[in-house]
Structures are given as structure tokens and as C-alpha cells.
Symmetry: C2
Subunit: 234 residues, 2 copies
């Protein structure tokens, strides 16, 4: 019988795993010895936080991230073929959402390996919940374009779609560009559009607030280098 591919959530920053991850999920993670991870150093640190006695040196780690050539991952689930379980972990939060981890999940389905998703913190779903915007119809669009003209166009297109379809539009930016993104949103959105900014989700410094763009114009937040999700609904 083949082993499973467990999708293991990690914390969204410096915090105790038990604060945001169920006890049963931590127990499953602690039993695994084969991992596909977005970042090996972060993954090892997380496993030590889950269990200070975790046998890091008896475990194997292979990386899957934006630098990975997908033609090289063919052996990543060989342990499953031998009947052992494998864990997939992203750098923060749940894997295979907002990261390239889905490539190994797709491979599991094609090889007849059972995929088991485990509950934990997703900054996308937590910000969607906390936004107060329409949660019955929403889209996560990933990163905004970097070039100014494309970026302005993308912002206006998201606003337009939210207006015509009633669909909440979520997106992200590299944290060091968050303040610049805030300014771009102020320039390109209508004053009456609602904007939720959710930064440092689940951390001590958590900041989540939904205001109209007109209200945000009087209240600029400090978002520099803070992981954040933006959501709009016109």
C-alpha cells in the first residue's frame, strides 16, 4: 500500500505552532521523516518548534519553490511508492496555495497517492473571513504586476470585476512594496470602494481593518515589510 502525501500547515510568523495548528496535525507532522518543502531551513525550524526532539538528521528534505525546475521533481514521492508518508510544507501557512507546491500534489493524484490536506492558518481565508466583504464569491489573484501601467490596469480591472460580479478580489504584494501598493490603490480605486488590509495575521501585531478608500485616504497605515493581504469590493 502506498504512503500518503500530507499537506502540513506551518505558522504565519514567530509564534507557537499549537496556537494556530490543531494538536492532531502537529502529531502527524512529528511522525513524518520525508518532506517536500518550500524552504529547508524554515521547515527544520518549524519541526523543532513542534517537537524539540524531532530527528532532523534522520529525515530528508527536498525543495519545491519558484526556483525549482519542475522536470526534476519526478522522484519526490518515491517514499510514498515504498509505503512511507511524505509531508508537503510551504514557508508560511498552508501549502499548495500561493506557492508552487501544487506541482507535487498534482503528481500525487496522477500516481494514485492519497492526498490529505490538514487544517491550519491560511492568510487568504483568514483575511477573507475578517474583511466583512462578500465571502460567498471571491477570488485570490496572487501578486499584482510590478510595472506601473500594468499594475494600475490590474487594480482597475479587479475593481470593475468586483462591481459587475459582486466578487471580492484579493491580492498580495512583496511586503517591502506594501506602502507603495497602498498609494497605488488610493490613486486608482473609487472613493466608495471598500478595501480591507490585513497585516501580520495571527501575530501579536495583527492589524485588520476594512474602510472605504475615501476613509483610508485620511488614515495611512504603516505596512512596510509586514506580510499583508489586500481585498476590495466596489
Amino acid at each position: 500500500m502506498k504512503g500518503n502525501l500530507y499537506l502540513i500547515p506551518t505558522t504565519l510568523g514567530e509564534q507557537q505552532p499549537a496556537d494556530v495548528i490543531p494538536a492532531k496535525v502537529l502529531g502527524i507532522a512529528a511522525q513524518l521523516r520525508h518532506f517536500v518543502v518550500e524552504n529547508t531551513r524554515t521547515a527544520r525550524r518549524f519541526l523543532r518548534a513542534v517537537d524539540p526532539e524531532f530527528p532532523i538528521d534522520d529525515s530528508d528534505f527536498v525543495e519545491l519553490n519558484e526556483h525549482t525546475d519542475l522536470s526534476t521533481i519526478g522522484q519526490y514521492l518515491d517514499a510514498c511508492e515504498r509505503g512511507e508518508h511524505v509531508g508537503l510544507m510551504s514557508e508560511a501557512g498552508v501549502p499548495a496555495v500561493a506557492d508552487p507546491g501544487n506541482a507535487v500534489v498534482a503528481m500525487a493524484h496522477s500516481k494514485g497517492i492519497r492526498v490529505v490536506p490538514l487544517s491550519g492558518p491560511s492568510s487568504i481565508i483568514l483575511s477573507m473571513m475578517a474583511s466583512g466583504l462578500n465571502g460567498q464569491n471571491f477570488a485570490f489573484n496572487g501578486y499584482l504586476p510590478v510595472k506601473p501601467a500594468e499594475r494600475a490596469k490590474a487594480i482597475r480591472n479587479y475593481e470593475k470585476r468586483s462591481l459587475t460580479e459582486g466578487q471580492t478580489q484579493l491580492f498580495i504584494e512583496a511586503p517591502y512594496r506594501n506602502n507603495a501598493l497602498f498609494d497605488d490603490l488610493m490613486h486608482n480605486l473609487r472613493h466608495e470602494t471598500r478595501l480591507c488590509i490585513a497585516a501580520d495575521i495571527t501575530l501579536e501585531t495583527e492589524f485588520i481593518l476594512t474602510l472605504t478608500v475615501g476613509e483610508w485616504l485620511k488614515r495611512k497605515p504603516e505596512l512596510h515589510k509586514r506580510p499583508a493581504i489586500f481585498a476590495i469590493l466596489a
Copy 2:
């Protein structure tokens, strides 16, 4: 100082809360005495599962669901104004996503009440993770239309958008119509489109599989009355 609005996740079916909800979150839920809930009976049962000694009779519950006249919820956060915390719970999973709970979250933002989203099982994000489809760009579209012509059109539109934008499209159906929806998907999607079906997520009977429509045609699953999420990517 005002109390917080805590967004409390619940289980996705008959299971131990500690299996899918972090210990800290269960501790917060057990301390609350004021609740806005999608269904009072389910909420009370959940709180008793969290803590058999939970003082149900000393707690108050008001309902917010698809039958609620939103003009009547104005007092739902009065406890927060008095400095006490309030918990929002949906019938299953995380609140304010795929249910009308966002109305009270929006009210909290407008009243300057802090909204605190707590980690737990979201069938949408768990199925997105487990699908192996594009998790860097996805949309949750809620329920499909019921009328056959509109329904076929919606299915084809989702497929088209997934093709032109590379955006995974997720949707749901009332569980007693899942088998009929499966047939409609078989009739309306291209054979090469990938379809993930995720049923009974996190439960003992969990079934999650991604195949092309051509492959599903040879392998009809039994989905009657099983809570399920459907995701496609052409």
C-alpha cells in the same frame, strides 16, 4: 475598551474539535458567553464538544443565516460595546465565508470593534490545497444556478475563465444534488479539463481526487448527500 468579535471555526462534521481546531482557539471559544451563530442547535452542540461543562444556559445566542432580515442585526454586537467579547460561528467550518456571517463582520468594522479571525478547517482552502490545481490564482463562486440552462452556461463560463486566465474555479452544490451536478459537469466540460472532487473533507470517509473529465467519465463517484467542493482548471 470595546470587546472583540472572534471568528470561531467549527468542525466540518462529526469529529473531535481538537482534531481540526488549534488548542488556543478552543480555549478562546470556551471563554465566550455571547454568540452570533448560523444555527443555534449546532453551535450549542459544538460548544459542548469543546467543553462538556460549557455554561450553555448562561450564554446568549442570536442567529444570522440566509433567513435573517439584515435590518434586525443592529444590536448583535452590543456586548462588544459593553467591553465583552462576541463569537461568530457558522454551521460548519470557518464563519463569514460561504455564509452570510460577513454582515456582522462588516458592522464590527464600522463600529470600531476589533475583528479576530481564528484558524480552523475551511473546506474551500482544504480542497484548493488538495486539488493540485493552480493555487496562485483561484476563485470560489459559491452555489451553481439551479435552472438547467443557466447552470450549463455557468459551468461553461467557469471553464472558459479557467482557460483564459489560468484561474482555478471552485463551486458547490446542495449535497443532495451532487450526483446530478457531476452528470452536468460530464456533459458540459471538455474531456481534457481537470476536475477535483473533494467530499467529506477531514472526515473518516474523506474522498479527494483530481482527474481529467475524460478519466472521470469512466469512474463515477457516489456523492449523494456528502458535503463536497468541486474545482476545475482547463
